[in-house]
Structures are given as structure tokens and as C-alpha cells.
């Protein structure tokens, strides 16, 4: 569901209670973000295993921005939303103001490419999509936004 072009406006779930966090592009700052995800997951009684999946997906989204976005403000902006009538889902939006990328043009990784062609990197977006229930990627010259949701 990658989108190219102009910056997206407010997400459809803008009314959900939300927590915002801005982290600098610096080693291990992604772990600061996972602490927030863990706290919200525990607040909504999400299982330990699902919280771990959310944390890893968030780590991958952050390091993707750290490595590829080349942001001018050297920051990654993260918004957490707990939604549904009884806290049924946790949504995380990771946004940078970097140079964007062609999400449609990214070649899918595979174990064969990893082991036989020794192309070991490029797994981040694939892992995010495998661990989260809903993932939307929008990217353009305004930056990149990864919106991901996990149901309890």
C-alpha cells in the first residue's frame, strides 16, 4: 500500500488518543521509542509477544529513517495512537522530513538473495509488514511516513 507523491494529510484515525515523541538520529535512540510502545501496549493489555512484534517493527522503521532518510532536521517524529472502543489497537506513525524513496521500486528481499547472493540488508520494510497487521507507506520529496497498526 505504498503511496508516492504529496505529503499525506491527517490520518483517518486522528481522533484517537495519542502520544507524540521526537527522537534524534543517533545510535540506539530507537530503543527510547520502543519504551513508549511497550508502556502503551501494557496499558491496553496487549500480549507480551505482540508488544515484542510492535517494538521490532518500530525499531526497523526508525533505523530505516536513520540510515536512508538523510533528514535536514536530524529528527524522526513518532506518534502513537490507541484506538477502538476498548483500546483494541495500537497505531504508530513514524515520519521523517528526509529525501524520501520509491516505495514501489524497492526489490523484495528473500533468503535466497541473502544467502546465495550475499545481499543481507534491505529486510526492514519486509519485517515491518510481516509483524504488523496494517502498514501504509507514503514517501515523496517531503519525506516518508510509515503508518502501522497492531490489533490486540
Amino acid at each position: 500500500m505504498a503511496q508516492q507523491g504529496p505529503a499525506p494529510t491527517e490520518p483517518a484515525t486522528a481522533a484517537a488518543p495519542e502520544v507524540s515523541l521526537t527522537i534524534p538520529v543517533a545510535p540506539e535512540m530507537e530503543i527510547v521509542a520502543t519504551a513508549q510502545a511497550e508502556a502503551l501496549g501494557e496499558y491496553m493489555d496487549m500480549s507480551r509477544d505482540k508488544i515484542d512484534e510492535v517494538k521490532l517493527a518500530l525499531v526497523e522503521a526508525c533505523i530505516n529513517a536513520f540510515e536512508h532518510a538523510h533528514t535536514e532536521d536530524n529528527q524522526v517524529h513518532i506518534t502513537f495512537r490507541v484506538g477502538g472502543s476498548a483500546g483494541e489497537w495500537l497505531e504508530i506513525e513514524v515520519r521523517d522530513r528526509g529525501r524520501g524513496f520509491d516505495a514501489e521500486g524497492i526489490e523484495s528481499p528473500s533468503p535466497q538473495k541473502t544467502f546465495e547472493e550475499r545481499r543481507r540488508r534491505g529486510w526492514g520494510l519486509h519485517i515491518i509488514k510481516s509483524l504488523m497487521d496494517v502498514v501504509e507507506i507514503a514517501s515523496g520529496d517531503w519525506g516518508t511516513r510509515i503508518l502501522m497498526r497492531k490489533y490486540k
Binding site: 545510535p27 540506539e28 530507537e30 530503543i31 527510547v32 520502543t34 509477544d49 515484542d52 512484534e53 517494538k55 521490532l56 525499531v59 526497523e60 533505523i63 528481499p109 528473500s110 533468503p111 535466497q112 541473502t114 544467502f115 550475499r118 543481507r120 540488508r121 529486510w123 526492514g124 519486509h126 519485517i127 510481516s130 509483524l131
Partner: protein, 118 residues
């Protein structure tokens, strides 16, 4: 704040057992790789990695573990993982690590499988 992974290693005959504690990113992966290559150079024929105290391994850390696995395979040695959380297990399977390295639920099962002596 530091989440740097701590790695400890012990020999059981010609099997090297590794325990990790903390986040395995590029730094943690490099630390594991350094210890793994040293054990292979000392003649270890199997490496057992217990990740029981690690809850996150990012894709960079896994790519370094894949490098370790390739080195292990070149040396005709064996690499086994154990104590993985369901999320780490799932990620190892997504990236194909499970096709080339064995994964066991517990350290005892891994040690038995590689034929470690006490």
C-alpha cells in the same frame, strides 16, 4: 542509557556456548561475531547461541549473525540457536536463518543435538 548487548562464552569440550543479554543491533552483532570467530579459530566444531535474555534483534544484527553462519558453514562447523522469543524466532524464519541454522527451544536440547560433552 545503554542497551548494549553483553555476550559471554563458555566451552563445553569442542562446543562453544554463547549467552547474550540485551539488544542485538550492529554493535551487539559485531561483539557476537568477534567471539564466534575467536572460538572457531580455537577449534570449536559447534556454536550454541542462547538468546534467552535478548528480546530484540534488529535486521542489522541478524545480517551479522548471517555472516557468522556463513563463516561457520565454511569451516564445516555447526550453529544452533536456542531460547528465542516468538518474535525473534519468527524474524529468523522470515530472513531464512532457520533454513541454515538449527533452532531449539532450550539450551539442553541444543547441546544434546550438537553432541556437547559435559
Amino acid at each position: 542509557m545503554s542497551e548494549t548487548c553483553k555476550v559471554s562464552v563458555e566451552r563445553r569440550g569442542d562446543v562453544a556456548v554463547f549467552w547474550t543479554d540485551g539488544y542485538i543491533n550492529n554493535q551487539g552483532g559485531e561483539e557476537i561475531a568477534k567471539e564466534a570467530y575467536a572460538e572457531l579459530d580455537r577449534g570449536a566444531r559447534a556454536l550454541v547461541m542462547n538468546l534467552g535474555k535478548t528480546r530484540i534483534v534488529n535486521s542489522i544484527g541478524i545480517s551479522i549473525l548471517i555472516e557468522v553462519l556463513e563463516k561457520v558453514m565454511e569451516r564445516k562447523a555447526v550453529l544452533a540457536f536456542c531460547g528465542l522469543t516468538p518474535t525473534i524466532d519468527k524474524t529468523f524464519r522470515i530472513m531464512g536463518l532457520a533454513q541454515y541454522a538449527a533452532i531449539y527451544p532450550t539450551e539442553n536440547e541444543a547441546l544434546q543435538a550438537v553432541g556437547a560433552t559435559a
